[in-house]
């Protein structure tokens, strides 16, 4: 799933408000991430890859839909890097483009469990669609 539109490193930094240069490469974000095993690129890699400018690789990775926004990495990062904000910014870089919603309203009914709280649907729509 290559991106159809280039999003620059500068845009990602501006959307996220994150400064990846604050990272000291300790790995606390990836140590604390509950979704680690589901991800192709892990939180610390988001930081390093954004710093290096490898935005396209990240945009093409399903990892961006695996973050639970639990903010554990934000809370525990000793240098206040806030990796989850980079994951969010990359995801927005993708879904803000036309026809790039990860989840379409039409997909929802098939996923619906009768007990599922509205909160889950609303949150997922917020995270996955424009």
């Amino acid at each position: 799933m290559a991106s159809t539109y280039t999003v620059t490193k500068e845009q990602i930094l501006s959307i996220s408000g994150v400064d990846p240069q604050k990272c000291m490469r300790c790995g606390k974000c990836s140590a604390t991430c509950p979704s680690y095993d589901e991800m192709e690129y892990h939180p610390h890699q988001f930081v390093a890859m954004v710093e290096k400018g490898e935005i396209e690789k990240l945009m093409g990775s399903p990892s961006i839909y695996k973050c639970m926004s639990c903010m554990a990495c934000i809370q525990r990062c000793p240098r206040q890097v806030e990796p989850a904000k980079l994951v969010e910014a990359i995801r927005l870089g993708v879904i803000r483009q036309q026809e790039r919603n990860h989840l379409k309203p039409d997909d929802i009914p098939a996923l619906l469990d009768p007990e599922l709280p509205q909160q889950a649907i609303v949150s997922a729509m917020r995270k996955y669609t424009k």
Binding site: C26, S30, A31, T32, H44, R76
Partner: protein, 666 residues
Amino acid sequence: MQKIGVFVCWCGSNIAATVDVKAVAEAARKVPGVVFSADYQYMCSEAGQGLIKDAIKEHGLTGVVVCSCSPRMHEATFRKAVQAVGLNPYMLEVANIREQCSWVHKDMATATEKAIALMQAAVAKVTLNTPLTAGTTPVTKRALVIGGGIAGMQTALDIADAGYEVDIVEAKPTIGGKMAQLDKTFPTLDCSSCIVTPKMVEVGQHEKIHIYSYSEVTQIKGFVGNFNVTIKRKARYVDEAKCTGCGACTEKCPSRKAPNEFNMGLNNRTAVYIPFAQAVPKVATIDPEYCIKLTKGKCGACAKICEAGAINYEAKDEYIEVEYGAIVAATGFEMIDVSPYDEYAYTQSPDVVTSLEYERLMNAAGPTGGHLLRPSDGKEPKTIVFIQCVGSRESCSSGEMRGKPYCSKVCCMYTAKHAMLTKDHYPDTDIYVFYIDVRTPGKNFDEFYRRAVEQYGVHYIKGAVGKVTPEGGKLKVQASDLILNEQLHIDADMVVLAGAIEPNKSARPLATMLTASMDTNDFFTEAHPKLRPVESPTAGVFLSGMCQGPKDIPETVAQAGAAASKVIGLLAKDHLVGNPCVAHSDEWMCNGCSQCETVCPYGAITYEEKEFRMPDRTTKVRRVAQVNPAVCQGCGACTVTCPSGAMDLNGFSNAEIMAEVDALCR
């Protein structure tokens, strides 16, 4: 009216080749106030100095300008020369026509013109100079060392060996500090107490050293050479002079639930206690919080058993005042409280311990007698995870910071030590060390760490621990391995936290009493980070050990010796000759605003209520600034800060500098 003489040096050809020295001397004669001028090949030579001396005598000169090399070279030489014939040494100015003229310009006309301007500026300044006399103050030949750990002990010993009296004030009942609690020391693995307890004995027996244990400094007055210090001797309810340290009272004491500080609270002690077998002074102390007699009025078991009659339940805190010439801060460090890092479950499981607790668990004199047994069930741990940088190297950009922004320096090494010692005794143990960077600068340090990896098979993992979950008697450790790019899950039996080092809590109030500056982390600041590393900017205050910044034992001992040598250098003087170029305040102009007091880095300025006789013959009490010339270093920060222009600096007064400005702009 000043009578000024101008002396122009050729410096061989160094000046004369580029500057027309005769023209400078000639020009000098035209400057108002100049009554004599001359040029000579080498002004700094005997003959040159003789020329100046003769001219002073002959022409009754009141001020002298020497146009020569930089004042940093020969100002002192010429000052001495003029003083020899009765002129105040501060009535001399040097015009720098070598380094800042002849050596940097090539064209003779230009260089000569500039030399003349520099000469004129110097004449303008010396015209306004006033004779200055450096004050002298006597020195009390006794030093105070605050803190009785390895830093304080070494400083005290070195000062005492030089023949000066030293007092150590130690807050705890015994000296010895943190080093007495350590098991082994890196990188040699020699037994810590085997090397520190003889030092403690030496300190205790030294005829020049007096130990005030279980005491605190509560007030410091005075300044370099003349400090007046109030020491609070906390009531220990045991007469130090009578107690023989036999320990009978500690055996009889029925209150046995007080946490044992020496063992990091891993076991309990009695209410009357001697911290450990080799304590100095070896006398008992009663913990008033746990003593049944002191809390409930009943008991008295210790008094009954004590043959020496040393127990005194009526004891009160005592305050004594002592005079000192120098003060050394050696207040040491603590480990931060690691409980805010509860993702490591320190508050949730007794098997998660700090490094210092681990140190006690391995120590033969510790709560487990040197057998490494985990606190929860007393079993030998098979898998141990060490976590580095707990609270060190944290960002200080937000107010939410849990830890410290600096590297605590010793953790990498002592963790390698812990790992190796554990493997030595229990080779089957699986040991994981999670690190951000392994920092081992130091002699034989990296070799030491590599030995842990290569010979002992300690698993060093570049990564962090995210969560420790105590469950079913195990500690489930979730961590990252950044090299393998994996998340690890380890079932550990113990987790050891290398918590950050922080200055002892008593350091901040002490710094306030000393008016010694501190950084934002509460480490004492040096007078100069490179050139004066063991002195505080506050004159007469010296720094020893961890209170200045994280350091290991050899560095601490080296710094302790350095601080001692500075103290000896000070105490060796009968009088301190001050720098007369100090600030002074015009009391009539001072409006009492305290701004100078705030900017002074030395605490040289204080405020006093003073009575003034007003023009209308009434008297008025006003609050005015006072500069202590023995403490002022003459930077001039206060002079510019003063909004009413009351503060001025001797030797660099507003009028003198402005006269130079005027002369150079002419």
